[in-house]
């Protein structure tokens, strides 16, 4: 038992790095696919965050004399049908994608899904029945179809609301900055992303609340809040982290889908789906591939990187595949 001096001489790592999380993090960073995924995502999202600095032109800067130009030193990825710089629009699209995915994953998937799943799993009975059945109703419809309906029906309402808000407070520019689009797309995405997470969390909690360490906490007199936050959540987290990582990819794809169909982000705000939509015809693909290929490739890379990261996280966190 008394191995302190021996341990010290053997250079055992300090205690604070031996927790399960620290071990998982170290394992993760030893995996090439995790490093690649993190690097790709870091580059893409950093360009979105620093879009103002990186983009050589404004996303809405039009030069009608330079329409559908091939890539050159002046326009790195060429220009689109009204002479806007594609590289600049791509970088600003990353910002749109980043904002929307992060906000809807955090609020929709994490906040709503986690809380509902926790309640359903912990309290069971009618709470569980209610949440599970409502979730099943949501799952029963094709997502794209319902998202289109939501996006199409709430847009006028949100627009009115924001206009009223602008009028009453004197703040201007909200509509022009595309806040309406963000809210609409976010609403459509969040309405669905919670179901999968709630189910996952519920299942985890159902299993965890029967474990002996939760019994021990209950026998110690721990409150429900403490049991949830200290004992249930940290142990339910590994699959949640994997699901969130995979969820980022699918939410990014869903956002692009809505914008591609013309009901998501409205012009002139750039988004990947919008850019793909504007370039979608055979003549362009054949003659000016620089208009459509960049957004397609970037979207692919985003989805690929999130899935890769999710896969690596699963390898590291899931005890069954370890």
């Amino acid at each position: 038992m008394a191995t302190t001096p021996a341990e010290q001489s053997l250079g055992v790592k300090p205690a604070q790095n031996r927790g399960l999380w620290a071990i998982a993090a170290r394992r993760l960073l030893r995996r090439p696919k995790a490093v690649i995924a993190i690097a790709l995502l870091a580059i893409l999202y950093a360009s979105g965050i620093f879009a103002n600095v990186i983009a050589p032109y404004d996303y809405n800067h039009q030069d009608v004399t330079q329409v559908r130009q091939a890539p050159s030193t002046q326009h790195l990825l060429g220009t689109d049908y009204i002479g806007r710089d594609i590289f600049s629009r791509l970088v600003f699209s990353m910002r749109t994608s980043l904002i929307l995915t992060v906000v809807s994953v955090i609020t929709g998937t994490l906040l709503i899904g986690l809380i509902l799943g926790l309640l359903a799993g912990y309290y069971g009975r009618w709470v569980d029945t209610l949440i599970s059945r409502v979730g099943e109703v949501f799952m029963a419809f094709p997502h794209i179809f319902l998202m289109i309906i939501i996006a199409a029906t709430i847009r006028p309402r949100v627009l009115d609301m924001i206009r009223n808000f602008e009028d009453s407070t004197g703040i201007t520019g909200l509509v022009r900055w595309g806040i309406v689009d963000y809210l609409v797309v976010f609403g459509a995405l969040a309405a669905f992303s919670w179901v999968g997470m709630a189910r996952l969390v519920r299942g985890q909690i159902l299993y965890l609340k029967e474990t002996q360490f939760v019994d021990a906490a209950r026998a110690s007199g721990a409150s429900v809040w403490r049991i949830m936050v200290v004992h249930l959540l940290p142990n339910a987290l590994p699959p949640i982290i994997v699901a969130v990582s995979l969820g980022f990819g699918s939410v990014a794809a869903a956002e692009a889908t809505l914008s591609f169909l013309g009901i998501g982000i409205q012009p002139p705000i750039p988004s990947l789906g919008r850019m793909i939509g504007e370039g979608q015809n055979l003549t362009i693909l054949r003659n000016q591939p620089w208009i459509i290929l960049p957004p397609v490739i970037v979207l692919m890379v985003i989805i690929f990187a999130w899935n890769l990261l999710g896969d690596a996280l699963n390898d590291v966190l899931n005890p069954r595949t370890r």
């Binding site: 038992m1 008394a2 302190t4 205690a15 604070q16 031996r18 927790g19 399960l20 999380w21 474990t211 002996q212 360490f213 019994d215 021990a216 906490a217 209950r218 026998a219 110690s220 007199g221 721990a222 409150s223 403490r226 200290v230 004992h231 940290p234 142990n235």
Partner: protein
Amino acid sequence: MTQVQRAPQPQQKGEDILVDVKNLKMYFPVMQGIMVQRKIADIKAVDDVTFYIKRGETLGLVGESGCGKTTTGRCILQLYRPTSGSVVFDGQDLMSMNAQQLRTMRRRMQIIFQDPYSSLNPRMTAGNIVGEPLVVHKLVKSKQEYRDKVAELLTTVGLNPYMADRFPHEFSGGQRQRIGVARAIATRPEFIMCDEAVSALDVSIQAQIINLLQDLQDQFNLTYLFIAHDLSVVRHISDRIAVMYLGHVVEIADRNELYANPLHPYTKALLSAVPIPDPIVEAQRERIILQGDVPSPLRPPSGCVFHTRCPIMIEECKGGVPPLREVAPNHWAACIRV
């Protein structure tokens, strides 16, 4: 049935009873239905159990798997809210307490689990596991006091204080069980339920943990409910022993009395199953082999629940549940044929 009258009572009025269980029943409902759940049956895990535990003594609770030992213990701690009956702890009725009152009472009664692997939260350090009851009951005022207290607890159970920063997966089974013990004694409880506390450990470690439990009992005047299926361990640690079968207590007696003079046919069969570590004696050991299996607690037999397997069963046994009678001084058995 006038059950209260036949409840075992302590010999003298003056004896200090810490835990008093009367007519405890724990029925788990069996539900069926898709939208609306209906109760179709009850699993009678604990059916009309009555016993008491004196302050400072160890009551061993034995019986085979599924006989309701653990459920009984959990009902005492109110981890399950029993269907009916009464559980009185140091004069206070736990059954009538609300969740808030119970949480304060939990400081005085604790539990040690069977499995040292699943009873510790894998994402907490040993120190925080041991210190959690201190935080929950606000028994420490500062960070420093908390650390000192945790170090003291770890030392008490034979671990090194520097191990407080380690995580459960870095300990051996015996060390983990010591952490479980340290957590149980953190709030200086009066009563600890040891739920198969040594069953998952190998024999040499079992001995260490049992010795630790006995030392702690002397040191802190603890009262134990020691649940086990290992009869030699129970014999070693218990003052009195209760034998359970299919949710009923069939016999309660002082340790030596029970082992020397078992009265209930089930107890006799159970004790005859203990192997003797002497090959010559072992070869001559007379075993009572019971016929059949334990009936389902979903549909327990009528009358004496043991009558389906009892070697000395007579027609009257099917009639009514035999009361726990004081057959010899302080020796209670639930059998009409003794």
